[in-house]
């Protein structure tokens, strides 16, 4: 599963730390998500989508 977190983060001008605080995870988790080294839980995916005011499928997608 891939994602567009980095793209959305740049659009909203958030740092990894900002996003981590907003979704209540550690910055490392955001780093791993952006590198596609970690697949989030449904809750985390939903929280990230809510922060970016987008649908989950707009951010997370399968190749």
């Amino acid at each position: 599963m891939n994602n567009r977190i980095k793209e959305f983060r740049a659009r909203y001008n958030f740092t990894q730390e900002d996003l981590a605080k907003k979704v209540n995870v550690r910055r490392e988790t955001i780093v791993f998500l952006e590198k596609n080294k970690y697949n989030p839980s449904l809750k985390l995916a939903y929280d990230i989508a809510r922060v970016f005011e987008a649908k989950i499928e707009d951010i997370f997608y399968f190749d």
Binding site: E17, A20, K21, N24, V25, R26, R27, E28, T29, F32, K35, N36, K37, Y38, N39, P40, S41, K43, L44
Partner: protein, 132 residues
């Protein structure tokens, strides 16, 4: 936060116990004991590293543990348990071939398990955890 404090207390207890072991009734340290001391030092450094990481996360306003760290710990626990079974099997096999004292064998087993856990944690923590 409570878990982090417990981690530091355990590391301190290990250090105190090791100090007691070294300074009570030992005139000189044997080479085999030096290896044990090295492994104990590695385990303590690992515990301090994990504790420090958790503390810095809390200071930044992030949670000490999140879903990824919990998943990494879960995966580490299961894999290190699995590898430890083989470790004890190897120890049992070699204890028949070589003549070691019982406390040396048990010490090697316990320290080996600690090292296996630390190695698994580093592998999963830096490789990431995908659900594939």
């Amino acid at each position: 936060m409570k878990k982090t404090v417990v981690l530091f207390i355990i590391a301190a207890l290990v250090l105190i116990t090791t100090g007691l072991w070294i300074f009570s009734g030992h005139s000189e340290i044997k080479p085999a004991e030096l290896i044990s001391l090295g492994v104990i030092a590695l385990v303590v450094v690992f515990a301090l590293f994990v504790g420090y990481k958790r503390l810095t996360s809390v200071k930044k306003g992030e949670p000490a543990e999140d879903e990824m760290s919990k998943k990494v710990m879960h995966k580490t626990s299961s894999m290190s348990y699995y590898i430890s079974l083989y470790w004890w099997l190897a120890i049992m096999y070699f204890s028949d071939k070589l003549k070691f004292e019982t406390h040396t064998i048990i010490g090697a087993g316990i320290l080996g398990m600690a090292v296996i856990f630390a190695v698994c944690w580093f592998v999963y923590n830096f490789r990431g955890e995908r659900n594939e």
